[in-house]
């Protein structure tokens, strides 16, 4: 079937008509995730009271911060109908570079933040240029840069690894905002990132452009959107968020190795979490709040598996099953909403 070309004027109209049901679907997804997370916590907590302790709840929250940051960027990329596999080595490279500099030459935290920002934007922009300028499909582009960037980690670290970080770093990763406010700083970092990305995606022209490009980039182009620029900026943002996640990782765990990020398949996990959160792989729809809730849900499920004494070898199966169930159920839900 040949799809008739949409006249330029028709594009915003189509966008708007799609926006109305999207809102309700999105809320349903968020409520479902919150309920599922709460149910898991309560159910497992009934059998093992340690699971509901403040300490464990805080641990699960902290544990989801790194993945949430990566997944926020991934959500933006997927919303443009792209995919970013290179987030894992970008995260790993930042963790290794900042961690090693801090360990060996006492790089101040401000410097580490600066390095993370520059590295992330640089590597992300390269992805964006390859995707938008040379028209290389995103999955191939980021597969290629995945190899390139993970090679860089290896070359830079040269066999050494990060074993400990200075006090300032550890405070950023594990400390509280103030002795009398038991809110982890890392959670505040995530909250700020979430707020910024959420505002950008839902309340700015750039955010509308991201969704328009994901919906139909030819139509977006005809509607006067600078598609190339939007794509480059989205991949740059994804790189930036992955790099910040890398810095948070090294601060939180105090360690970083050649396989940081790539070893845990953060790229696949971040895609999974974005989809669990209600972002459509076909583009045009992005739910950043859902992404963070999905990441939290994953963290709770994985910790629950530890508490109910499931052998560690089954963790990844649990993760796979969860992706399958939530994404398939979510698609049913969406189809139901559309009809």
């Amino acid at each position: 079937m040949t799809t008739l070309p949409l006249p330029a004027a028709g594009v915003p109209e189509r966008e708007m008509s799609a926006a109305a049901p999207r809102r309700s679907r999105r809320e349903v997804r968020e409520i479902t995730l919150i309920v599922a997370t709460a149910l898991t916590i309560v159910t497992v907590g009934l059998f093992n009271h340690g699971f509901m302790s403040t300490q464990n709840l805080r641990f699960m929250l902290l544990n989801s911060v790194v993945l949430s940051l990566v997944a926020l960027g991934q959500t933006l990329v997927i919303a443009t109908r792209g995919i970013d596999l290179s987030v894992a080595p970008v995260m790993g490279l930042t963790a290794v570079v900042t961690g090693l500099l801090a360990q060996s030459s006492g790089l101040p935290l401000v410097g580490a933040v600066g390095i993370a920002i520059v590295l992330g934007l640089l590597l992300g922009t390269l992805n964006g240029l390859l995707v938008a300028r040379l028209a290389i499909p995103p999955i191939i582009t980021t597969l290629g840069t995945y190899s390139l960037y993970s090679g860089l980690v290896f070359v830079y670290s040269n066999g050494t690894q990060v074993d400990s970080v200075p006090r300032a770093y550890a405070t950023l990763g594990n400390g509280f905002v103030a002795p009398f406010i038991p809110v982890p700083i890392a959670v505040v970092v995530l909250a700020v990132a979430l707020l910024l990305v959420w505002f950008m995606l839902n309340h700015t022209r750039f955010g509308r452009a991201i969704l328009a490009v994901g919906n139909n980039d030819a139509a977006a182009y005809n509607a006067g959107i600078g598609v190339t620029g939007v794509k480059v900026r989205v991949y740059a943002l994804s790189g930036l968020l992955a790099a910040i996640a890398g810095l948070m990782f090294v601060c939180y765990t105090g360690s970083a190795t050649v396989t940081t990020g790539t070893g845990d398949h953060v790229e696949l996990q971040s895609i999974a979490v974005a989809l669990i959160g209600g972002t459509a792989i076909a583009g045009g729809r992005g739910n950043v709040v859902g992404t963070v809730l999905g990441s939290l849900f994953l963290s709770v499920i994985l910790t629950a598996l530890v508490f109910i004494h499931v052998p560690p070898i089954w963790y990844s199966a649990g993760e796979g099953l969860m992706i399958l169930v939530t994404v398939t159920a979510g698609m049913r839900q969406n189809r139901g909403g559309a009809n």
């Binding site: 079937m1 040949t2 799809t3 070309p5 949409l6 995919i83 390859l130 938008a132 300028r133 040379l134 028209a135 290389i136 499909p137 999955i139 191939i140 582009t141 597969l143 290629g144 840069t145 995945y146 190899s147 390139l148 993970s150 090679g151 860089l152 290896f154 070359v155 139909n216 980039d217 030819a218 139509a219 977006a220 182009y221 005809n222 598609v227 190339t228 050649v258 696949l268 895609i271 999974a272 989809l275 792989i281 076909a282 052998p311 070898i313 089954w314 963790y315 990844s316 199966a317 649990g318 993760e319 796979g320 099953l321 992706i323 399958l324 994404v327 398939t328 698609m331």
Partner: protein
């Protein structure tokens, strides 16, 4: 005129038309020239790369399992899908075989056949999830790869079986007719079979048609679900075969032994000229890409470069090759468009606005 960098839905058809104008065998010919130059260069510059004809052929044993997976993955990618579970499937199938042999004392040959069947079943699970639940191939096979990996680890236990019978190990290390490795014979036969299957049979035409336009395929009465399902079964069986060959090569199995296969194999298939969107590509291109990347990797390893540096180079080659392909066919903007203008052609993709 639409921005040539934007493959919107309407533009895909225009792009395909453009791709048809690009002589596909031109891509394969370039790869072949590159392969010959590379092998000649490595022979001359790297000591130990050519230790005699037999030793040279034996180098292929290190990378032909990648080729086996690539053949199956090509089938899936031609339908417009993707199979991220190839590595996990290879590992799980090999573990199934090894456990049958060591735990239940089944003959290794029978166990190997069961391993292949297991690969088919795992592929069928992928295919059913994709066709019945309408889950995106990327998500479905991502999820099943996690699940298969867990099952493989659980089955393997703390000390996976090793030390298979010598006759079986010959699959990975043996030679046939003088110095020709058995692996190379197997790969050649299978590559020929896949060429016949995908390019000269009705089934192959249908696979390509589904990938080219599943809507057109549906309107011409094809049972798309069945065709897609069989592509994933083929991919599963080929992954299992690669797992078994690896098991024979090392005379051991490990649940994560297939992990290295995934990214390299996708690289091979794409470098071989198969469109990641489906409906375009040949087995000949994939075979040349297998040899090209394989010899490059072996050459660099022999020359003393680390595994990571060769991985990096593989990534760079993938990007460079696709970038050059896009520039030559007039896709892309900026540099690509500039070169197109220098070559005196207007940008090829005019998209929906021109229709």
């Amino acid at each position: 005129m639409a921005d040539p960098s934007n493959p919107g839905r309407n533009e895909v058809t225009a792009r395909r038309r453009n791709a048809a104008r690009l002589p596909l065998d031109g891509w394969e010919r370039s790869l072949l020239v590159l392969l010959v130059l590379l092998v000649a260069g490595l022979c001359l510059s790297v000591d130990g790369f050519y230790p005699g004809f037999a030793g040279f052929l034996a180098l292929t044993e290190n990378f032909l399992p990648f080729g086996l997976v690539a053949l199956g993955l090509t089938t899936v990618i031609l339908t417009g899908g993707i199979d991220l579970s190839v590595g996990a499937t290879a590992g799980l199938s090999a573990i199934v075989m090894a456990e049958l042999w060591s735990g239940l004392h089944v003959s290794i040959w029978l166990a190997a056949v069961v391993g292949l069947l297991a690969g088919g079943v795992l592929g069928a699970v992928n295919g059913l999830i994709i066709t019945r639940l309408r889950t995106e191939p990327l998500i479905a096979t991502l999820a099943t790869s996690f699940i298969y990996a867990s099952i493989a680890t659980a089955l393997a236990g703390p000390s996976p079986p090793a030390g298979f019978p010598d006759a079986f190990n010959l699959i990975g290390t043996g030679t046939l007719i003088g110095p020709i490795p058995l692996q190379l014979v197997l790969f050649s036969v299978l590559a020929l079979l896949f060429t016949l299957l995908l390019q000269y049979s009705t089934f192959g035409r249908r696979i390509v048609m589904v990938g080219y336009s599943s809507e057109a395929a549906r309107y011409s009465g094809l049972r798309i679900d069945r065709i897609v399902l069989s592509a994933y079964v083929i991919s599963g069986v080929m992954s299992a075969f690669a797992g078994i060959v690896l098991a024979a090569y090392y005379s051991a199995v490990r649940p994560d032994m297939g992990d290295v296969l995934l990214l390299s194999t996708i690289t091979i298939v794409v470098l071989g000229g198969v469109s990641i969107f489906g409906g375009e590509g040949t087995i000949a291109g994939v075979v040349i890409a297998v040899l090209l990347l394989g010899f490059l990797r072996q050459g660099m390893l022999i020359a003393g470069y680390s595994d990571m540096v060769t991985t990096m180079l593989t990534g760079a080659i993938l990007l460079g090759a696709i970038a050059i392909k896009n520039i030559l066919s007039g896709r892309g903007t900026g540099l690509a468009a500039l070169l197109t203008r220098i070559r005196g052609r207007r940008p090829a993709t005019t998209g929906s606005a021109a229709e």
